[in-house]
């Protein structure tokens, strides 16, 4: 049963990746400019080089063969050159993407650690003052534009109080070798004499962007957890638990929480798309050297190979993250494997 489900999911994953690559390939025709330039990133090449590119991407053949050539180069790690820097796009992605993932993961961690307990509290004290306070705060967090929030926090903590640095991942004083791309892990792996100081500095740099980034997902998670809890608390088995004489906290922790958290897990998977969107804006404001800031710069510079590469990476990441959350949800929750099970 589970294996059958996994096979179906993986087939779906395959088709989604296929469609995504097709979409990316189509973009090379949709973007302004030459197809050969958009694919290879080599602008106004000489006569010979032009022929080479045409040969490499099979531009004289039909679209299907062109697409296969494109896929082949993507799989081989040849994503063309960035028009802005002349460097291979794949190298850029390799160094920049972990920075974004790092930021997004910490933000997600914050939002899970704060969001779920807060949501449970809001549901436990439904229609009491605690619930109203939480509702108001989440509504405000939900409605604040992320770039404005970032600016306010920079004004307050960086410019007025001078407590936190306002840009970058780590102070330029520290030299950390690029190994995994995840800065905190890289620092721990490096044999720097000032390991501790570097770690604290990196943490300071990380604090403000991850708080800004976590605000919106936290609000979403609080609301979702609360709704899921209230749904479960309305079920008959909770009523019978109450009739048995269990008290409020026993019902919440032993009966309601486990069932309410199941839909929350799949909701966390759906957060990745929003998270990346917000991360792009946050990165621009905090000059975070991630893929989002790079992508937005690529637009300013009309760097089409970079946009295509960035789109492919980010979307692949979101698709796989969503899929993992989905599969995790299925393993934990047998009812979701087949909707007809467990229904009355």
């Amino acid at each position: 049963m589970l294996r059958q489900y996994l096979v179906r999911r993986l087939t779906l994953l395959f088709f989604m990746v296929l469609l995504l690559s097709l979409f990316t390939f189509t973009l090379s025709y949709l973007f302004p400019g030459d197809v050969s330039t958009n694919l290879s990133g080599i602008d106004s090449a000489g006569f010979n080089a032009n022929d080479q590119i045409t040969e490499k991407y099979k531009l004289n053949e039909n679209y299907l063969l062109q697409y296969f050539a494109f896929i082949q180069h993507i799989v081989n790690g040849d994503w063309g050159l960035s028009l802005a820097s002349g460097q291979p796009v794949f190298e850029h992605v390799k160094t920049l993407f972990p920075a974004t993932v790092e930021l997004a993961l910490y933000a997600l961690l914050i939002s899970i650690l704060i969001g779920i307990p807060t949501g449970v509290i809001a549901a436990a004290y439904h229609k009491k003052w605690q619930d109203h306070v939480i509702y108001t705060v989440t509504l405000f967090a939900y409605s604040t534009p992320v770039f404005w929030l970032a600016l306010i926090l920079i004004m307050a903590f960086c410019l007025q109080l001078g407590l936190l640095p306002m840009s970058g991942r780590i102070s330029l004083l520290f030299e950390v070798e690029h190994q995994t791309g995840f800065l905190l892990i890289d620092i721990l792996l490096s044999n720097n004499t000032y390991k501790q100081a570097a770690l604290i500095d990196a943490f300071h740099h990380l604090l403000l962007p991850s708080i800004v980034l976590a605000t919106y997902p936290t609000a979403v998670l609080v609301r979702f957890t609360k709704d899921a809890m209230l749904d479960v608390l309305d079920k008959s088995y909770i009523k019978s638990a109450r009739a048995k004489g269990l008290n409020h906290s026993q019902i919440i922790f032993h009966h309601a929480l486990r069932n309410a958290l199941l839909p929350v897990i799949s909701q966390i998977g759906l957060q990745f798309s929003t998270l990346i969107t917000l991360a792009m804006i946050t990165e621009v404001i905090f000059s975070w050297p991630g893929i989002g800031a790079w992508l937005i710069n690529s637009i300013y510079q009309r760097d089409f190979p970079a946009i295509m590469g960035g789109l492919l990476t980010v979307s692949l990441f979101v698709i796989i993250a969503t899929m993992i959350a989905d599969i995790l949800n299925t393993i934990l929750d047998p009812v979701s494997r087949n909707r007809s099970h467990g229904q009355v």
Binding site: L12, M16, L27, Y142, P145, F147, L159
Partner: protein, 297 residues
Amino acid sequence: MAKFKLFNEDANKSPLKHLWRHFKSNHSALVGLWVFLLLAILAISAPLIAPYGVNEQNAQALILPPSWDDAGQVEFILGTDGLGRDLLSRLMNGATSTFGLAILAALLTTAIGVVLGVFAGLTRGVKSSVLNHLLDITLAIPSLLLAIVIVAILGPGLMNTVWAIIFALLPQYIHSVRNLVAQELSKDYIVAQRLDGANKWQILKTGILPNIYEHIVVIFTMSLSTAVLDIAALGFLQLGAQAPTAEWGAILAENLSLIYLAPWTVALPGILLFIAILSTNLVGDGLRHALQKRRAS
């Protein structure tokens, strides 16, 4: 365990009246609705009632603080920006560009999304499965990234942003409407209707649509708040509205260099954005709760 609904009143109020009664009892939602309507009226009438032109420069009044400040002048109630343009007029016109266009984008998305969503909900088999997977893939691309790709194709500009936002909002919208239709289709009264020999169009017209349009309004408010945010975000990143256009996000980005000298030029557009999104969310939440209450009562 079935719950019976007994109507004790002599005259049964229509569902819409019930909904309004529940909505009215929620004061914050009501305030949200008033603010929302006020902003909508402002968005329509801003060019007429704004005291100064959008790009009218007053060389003798550069970076004037708001009028309640000691250095402020009463002619410029909210002060002026670095080019001597009246901030109040720019912000009022910003309501048209940001809020008005967001409403337009959300309305267009609704029109397209409902048609496609209903179609997706009514189809079965391979066609629906292909459509769903297409939706899944577009849902996987982050909305801002999709908007950026579309801006890259069409070039920056306010109207192109609107198209980009419509495209970015559509997948989510179709998905929600499809789920609503599918949910409604599985209910007993639709089955009864089908057994009576009603065709698809009749089921849709008399069965499904009257039961889901209120939920569509809730989805509309949700996509509206996203649209406001996205228009402003793209304006802020200078991918949407370009420099002289009075759009809240663009005004904010324009005055970013003045943040030390004239913090109000950055604070005010942000506050307005916040109010616009907050009021939209309040209305949406209020509607959602009213719908829940009506179902429970």
